[in-house]
């Protein structure tokens, strides 16, 4: 209902009636953008002056009006009746931890002096969901005593008073449920939560605050330097908000949404909704914003203020003329980390906030400003619509599990007085100290340290023990985070003692190459995957040393998903192997350039393989062959797989494109060019053999070179060949140029792939964890059997977009977070209505973006379902042209969303990680073909490590750099079998397989294939006929097909499991 209303209020009420009804009828899932068609009469009517103005402004207002319309559905002015609340609580408990047990004072119950509606609800600034209505109940003056400020007597009385209220209300039938909670997680400030019994209005809760009568306590008693216990801000602050215009409320609501998406507004020490409105009030008072501004401008200004003002150093105050007894800002700074003083001048509203939380707020604000100003980013979406949970935001996350241990930390850190301040809440007491300790220890390695805000518990009575673990997030600095050396001051400098104090026994004197002798700490880590976890070593060491927190209660979530791309006996996630391949390729490239005696010179050598851009899931390893395992083909010096033996180790040929100079000598004929290329392959092979003794095998399409235990596949390319392929001569002798698949495939192989490879290679240099994130993503796609639909190149581009357009995040700093964001991108991107623009090398301008979008909208129907545009290729999305199909994409999106949910939960909640997301659900498929593991060459890469291993003709030992017989190259029975199946039965079924050691091929019948069709000579493949009278119908011959599965995969297929119970023809 709300929705219709706002549609009617839409700002752009141009007099044009053309398509008014469309938006309404288009509601729901399947809405699609249709190009606008206006009739001639509509387009060419004489314009009114009003309309002219509106039209001119349309472009500039677009963003604004979008926001304005967005605000409406967000701000929710509930129409529920407030007076119809009351409730039950079976046994009344006092919502307070009575430590120590007794204190002086008297207490009796009396009806409240007054009840007021306070907070965001009467101001119209509260937002969905979880609406709370705040009721301030004033405790009558005769219950309290002026000396109650001492020794927590007032908070105790307040708790008792609430208990009394609860007891009274329990008898009322108008209340659904009743619980205690505490304001902002501070147990000194209990509140009573009431929900009405009726279901429809269960979306809101009533929060009852008890407060003393105005002016009862002297504000000066709560000076931060006095040994008192601070009171609640609710005592004094009735804000000057009341008569602001609507846009102010909208601004507050927007800011609250912004905070909520960043998980900053809930829990203890958060920047809650109240602070948000206070901040806007402050800006209004100081004339940084005005009442005439739109909500959009209000949000912008407040973010700008947050980004540029450091409240941990320069606090702000709402008090206009503080009385003389009020403490100064400096006093506040001494007592609190973040300072924002309320109108009374006596209360710091940010008292519970840690400096880290404020820094996070600041970082978020400046990040938001950054991408708001970037015209190529959909600022609105990133700003307000995308949630930023910690696990997806921070590069590494760790949790303190047993919070009870913090008790001993308080002792160790000598925090008894602070503990008293927090009435024994050791978590809040120890937190700031732990944070500053970690900040010091991690130093330059991190950009930001954040921590979760412990939620406000809702229970009958508060307890300390049942607290969820405290989570910390690290935003890493990729250049420094992985360094194993912590170099300190020189031994004789005065800072050395401080350094030794921080690091304890780990600090050692070391002599460096520049002959300086300094204090230093050396962390363990040889391979990249170990170095990734240096921050973990630091954190566990520091916590153990200074806070008595054992390693066992620190749960570090940094590289937990990386296991699936680990191979070999040494722990490594493939960075080192990739580097080795790239080095070997560089060497080959140099040698190719230096070759002489070629008829034409080489103009470019380009890699065109994922291994050459660090994104091959399992990078090729240098191998040494065991000749006795193979048959030999003497004349070509090649090994051949032996029948009866297990399939030999799979050797990936690494594609290298070698462009030859253009010349008049090249023939202008497709076949002739092919032959000339073959001649070049032969010549190159001869020269490489002669000069460098590499074993080579030339062929018509490529030249295989055996080098450093790797195989490079060199393909000679001639830049005019695609053009020649496109030309043809019609019967009339007219020469025409027609695009065709052959030419496209050739361009893909010789132009687009090499370019992508070099571009992504560059991206890897900027973001060291790009490759690993890609590999995780592709491993997941493989495990979910989507490798053939979302190709390697497509997956790499998707991950690249996560790194290039990270808004609202920062670029991923660990493979894990990169992988999570990849899943999020896959599952949340609106593929139907938007092109994904991957701005490689930052070549696209804002104008290009608009152009791409307009082209996309204009011909959506004819474009691939998953549309990816790159700077070199803006219109066609060549990478996704063939696959995925609509159905597959839907399934990918669904599985990505599901995997993301499960994985994030596992990562945050502990328990056994991974594997669930790497195991495909097989119950959806019609036939499973189980393979003989002996013939699956990549078995060792499987998610579940195989129980049996086979000799695959590989020997241990150092690899020969040149010479030797050529190994078995690119021979993978599984891939050959799949290709054969698809060619034979592609029109009847889909075939899925995990390319990384999958031992099952899953088959899905196409539903259309089983509809009986009339006999047609062109569609009789694998079909049998049914004759009824003169009618001949063809249906698939399933029995024979299943038999064919077995026959065609003889030696490879173990069994064919037909799940006939699933079929319905």
């Amino acid at each position: 209902m709300k929705k219709k209303q706002t549609v009617a209020e839409e700002p752009g009420e141009a007099p044009v009636k053309a398509k008014r009804s469309k938006p309404e009828e288009a509601e729901g899932e399947g809405v699609v953008y249709h190009p606008v068609k206006l009739s001639r009469s509509d387009l060419y009517r004489p314009p009114s002056a009003d309309e002219l103005n509106q039209l001119k402004e349309a472009e500039s207002l677009f963003h604004c009006s979008l926001l304005k319309m967005q605000v409406r559905p967000l701000t929710f002015l509930t129409s529920a009746h407030v007076n119809n609340n009351n409730n039950k609580l079976s046994h009344i408990k006092v919502p307070f931890l009575l430590v120590p047990k007794t204190t002086k004072g008297k207490f009796h119950m009396a009806p409240p002096a007054s009840i007021d509606l306070v907070g965001s609800y009467p101001l119209g600034t509260c937002i969905k969901p979880r609406i709370t209505v705040d009721l301030a109940v004033t405790i009558p003056a005769d219950v309290l005593h002026p000396k109650d400020v001492l020794n927590q007597r007032y908070p105790r009385k307040r708790a008792l008073y609430l208990a009394g209220l609860a007891q009274h209300l329990a008898s009322s039938s108008d209340i659904g449920t009743m619980r205690y909670s505490c304001l902002h997680g501070n147990r000194l400030r209990p509140v009573l939560l009431l929900t009405p019994p009726c279901k429809d209005s269960s979306s809101f809760t009533l929060r009852v605050h008890a407060c003393p009568p105005p002016g009862f306590f002297k504000p000066s008693r709560f000076h931060p330097q006095r040994n008192n216990i601070r009171t609640d801000w609710y005592t004094g602050s009735q804000t000057p908000l009341s008569d602001h215009r609507n846009s102010f409320a909208d601004g507050v609501a927007l800011l609250k949404v912004w905070l909520r998406q960043r998980e900053l507004d809930q829990g203890t020490g958060g920047f809650n909704g109240f602070l948000a409105s206070m901040l806007l009030t402050y800006l209004l008072i100081t004339h940084r914003i005005s009442n005439t501004m739109t909500a959009y401008q209000l949000l912008r200004n407040s973010l700008n203020f947050l980004a540029s003002t450091d409240l941990t150093v320069n606090g702000i105050s709402l008090a206009r003329d503080p009385d003389s007894t009020a403490p100064s800002l400096a006093d506040f700074h001494n007592a609190f980390q973040v300072v924002f003083v309320d109108p009374s001048g006596h209360l710091n509203m940010c008292a519970d906030m840690t400096a880290c939380t404020y820094k996070q707020l600041q970082a978020e604000a400046s990040l938001s400003m950054q991408f708001w100003d970037d015209p190529t980013v959909d600022g609105f979406h990133g700003l307000l619509m995308t949630p930023k949970p910690m696990i997806r935001t921070s590069d590494h996350v760790f949790q303190l599990c047993e919070l009870v241990k913090l008790q001993s930390s308080c002792k160790k850190l000598n925090l008894l007085s602070e503990l008293m301040d927090h009435s024994g809440n050791y978590v809040h007491t120890a937190l700031p100290f732990i944070l500053s300790l970690l900040q010091r220890g991690l130093g330059e390695r991190i950009h930001l340290l954040t921590h979760s805000l412990s939620p406000e518990p809702e229970s009958d009575a508060p307890k300390h023990k049942a607290q969820p673990p405290l989570s910390f997030g690290l935003l890493l600095n990729p250049e420094l985070a992985t360094s194993v050396l912590e170099r300190g001051p020189s031994a004789d400098s005065p800072k050395a003692a401080e350094f030794r104090q921080l690091w304890g026994s780990r600090s050692e004197l070391r002599r460096f190459q520049d002959s300086a002798i300094t204090e230093a700490v050396l962390w363990e880590g040889k391979s990249m995957c170990q170095k990734q976890l240096v921050p973990k070593q630091i954190i566990t060491h520091l916590l153990q040393l200074h806070a008595d927190i054992p390693e066992s209660s620190v749960r570090y979530v940094g590289a937990m998903v990386d296991d699936v791309i680990k191979t070999g006996s040494e722990p490594s996630t493939g960075e080192e192997e990739s580097l080795l391949v790239v080095q070997s390729y560089d060497d080959l490239s140099r040698k190719l350039w230096r070759l002489e005696d070629l008829p034409l010179s080489i103009t470019a050598v380009q890699g065109a393989h994922p291994a050459l851009r660090y994104t091959q899931v399992f990078p090729p390893r240098p191998l040494k062959m065991d000749y006795s395992f193979f048959d030999r083909d003497k004349p070509s010096r090649s090994l051949v797989p032996k029948e009866g033996k297990p399939c030999p180790a799979y050797i990936t040929p690494i594609t290298v494109i070698c462009h030859m100079e253009g010349s008049g000598k090249w023939p202008h004929d497709r076949l002739a060019i092919r032959h000339i290329r073959a001649a070049f392959h032969i010549r190159l092979g001869e020269l490489l053999k002669k000069h460098h003794n590499y074993t080579c095998r030339p062929g018509p399409t490529h030249l295989d070179v055996w080098k450093d235990g790797l195989v490079f596949r060199i393909q000679v390319a001639y830049h005019r060949e695609p053009q020649v392929l496109r030309e043809s001569v019609t019967a009339e002798g007219l020469q025409v140029v027609r695009d065709n698949e052959e030419a496209q495939a050739l361009e893909m192989a010789t132009i687009h792939k090499p370019l992508l490879t070099s571009t992504l290679h560059g991206l890897q240099q900027q973001h060291p964890c790009f490759g690993a994130a890609c590999r995780l993503a592709k491993r997941w796609l493989g495990a979910q059997l989507f490798s053939d639909d979302i190709t390697e190149d497509t997956a790499d581009l998707l991950v690249a977009s996560v790194f290039l357009q990270p808004a609202p995040f920062t670029p991923p700093g660990s493979p894990q977070v990169g992988f999570l964001r990849f899943l999020h991108l896959l599952s949340s991107f609106d593929w139907r209505n938007n092109p994904l623009v991957v701005n490689l090398n930052n070549q696209l301008t804002a104008a290009d973006y608009t152009e791409i979008k307009n082209d996309f909208m204009a011909s959506r129907e004819s474009l691939p379902v998953m549309f990816i545009a790159t700077p070199k290729e803006k219109k066609l999305s060549i990478w996704t042209k063939k696959a995925p199909s609509v159905q597959i994409l839907q399934r990918v999106v669904m599985l990505a969303a599901e995997s993301l949910k499960v994985l994030e939960q596992q990562l945050m909640d502990g328990g056994q990680i991974q594997d669930v997301v790497m195991r495909p659900p097989l119950d959806a498929y019609d036939v499973l073909i189980h393979l003989n593991v002996k013939q699956v060459p990549l078995l060792s890469q499987a998610v579940d490590p195989p129980t049996v291993t086979f000799g695959r003709g590989v020997m241990a030992g150092s690899v020969t750099q040149a010479g030797g017989a050529l190994p078995v190259i690119d021979y993978n029975p599984v891939a050959l079998y799949l290709a054969e199946l698809r060619e034979s039965f592609g029109d009847l079924a889909l075939f899925f397989c995990d390319p990384y050691g999958g031992t099952v091929i899953a088959v899905l019948w196409k539903p259309k294939a089983f509809i009986p069709t009339p006999f047609k000579t062109s569609q009789m493949t694998a079909r049998s006929v049914e004759v009824t009278g003169e009618q001949v119908n063809a249906i698939p011959n399933v029995e024979a097909i299943l038999e064919d599965f077995r026959i065609m995969g003889q030696g490879l297929v173990k069994s064919v499991e037909a799940r006939t119970e699933k079929w319905s023809f």
Partner: protein, 282 residues
């Protein structure tokens, strides 16, 4: 399941409406399931091609992927001696292939079910094939003639993909020689044509029928387009813009129409976003 209708008595051929005879085929003697081949004499209204003589050619549908030409030839030899087997992905007329290619340069053949044109030496063989009883299956792989599939086949294919560099060089050389010869011949022909177009010493030009000479019109589509565009540009240059009042008015009208269209598009975009409930942040 294989022969779908058992209405024919055994030892009888099974003919379905449309004139096709159903033959059954199984891989080995112990196979449990059978494929059905559909055979018929090759009949086309107008095919001049001498490769498929109408009276001696049998048209076969649904040949499984593990039956290459040699196997098919053997299978059908029981009906009479086979002259030629042609396997195709789809039924269609015979296509003249270009210059002869070595097998290494041919594009990889698609594996899969094929249609076949089998040319017998004798036309009586067709009748024999068509009257073959459907419950006596043809067997692909027998002890005398084992057919390799699966791992065996892949290893064999891998071995066969090797080629000696000198042999490859030889193939390339011979092809290029051939190619050069063809090019030369073509050039010769063109030269002759051009000569014929020229005046002889007495000033006569010989006019002939058939394809016109090279000079007559642009030789490629691209050139055609270029000429057309040149023409359009020329026309445009001559035109005056905003010269008359009505022209000016029209331009303004167009501009407003453009703005309107854009506005409508924007509005629709918003409506679309709204409809997708994109405004729900959580």
């Amino acid at each position: 399941m294989a022969p779908s209708k058992k209405k024919h008595a055994s030892n009888q051929p099974c003919v379905i409406p449309g004139g096709f005879t159903v033959l059954s085929l199984q891989f080995g003697s112990d196979s449990v399931a059978q494929h059905q081949l559909y055979v018929k004499e090759h009949k086309v209204r107008a095919e001049k091609c001498s490769h498929r003589p109408l009276d001696r050619t049998l048209f076969v549908l649904n040949i499984p992927p593990y039956c290459p030409e040699g196997v098919v030839k053997d299978l059908f030899s029981q009906f009479g001696s086979v002259q030629l087997v042609e396997l195709r992905d789809h039924p269609g007329s015979f296509q003249e292939s270009g210059p002869k290619l070595s097998r290494f340069f041919k594009p990889a053949a698609k594996q899969g079910f094929k249609v076949g044109y089998i040319v017998f030496h004798n036309s009586s063989s067709i009748k024999a094939a068509k009257s073959h009883p459907h419950d006596v299956p043809l067997v692909v792989s027998t002890e005398q003639r084992p057919v390799r599939t699966g791992v065996q086949k892949w290893i064999q294919a891998y071995t066969e993909s090797f080629i000696q560099p000198d042999k490859l060089q030889q193939i390339v050389d011979s092809f290029m020689e051939d190619y050069d010869k063809r090019k030369e011949e073509e050039a010769e022909k063109q030269k002759e044509e051009a000569e014929q177009q020229q005046e002889d010493e007495e000033g006569w030009v010989k006019v002939t029928r058939g394809p016109k000479g090279t000079k007559a019109r642009p030789h490629s589509e691209a050139a055609n387009k270029k000429a057309l565009q040149k023409e359009i540009r020329k026309k445009k240059r001559k035109e005056l813009l905003n010269f008359y009042t009505w022209q000016h008015r029209n331009t303004q009208k167009e501009h407003i129409a453009e703005l309107r269209k854009k506005f409508e598009e924007d509005k629709q975009r918003i409506a679309l976003l709204r409809a997708q409930r994109k405004f729900k942040p959580y």
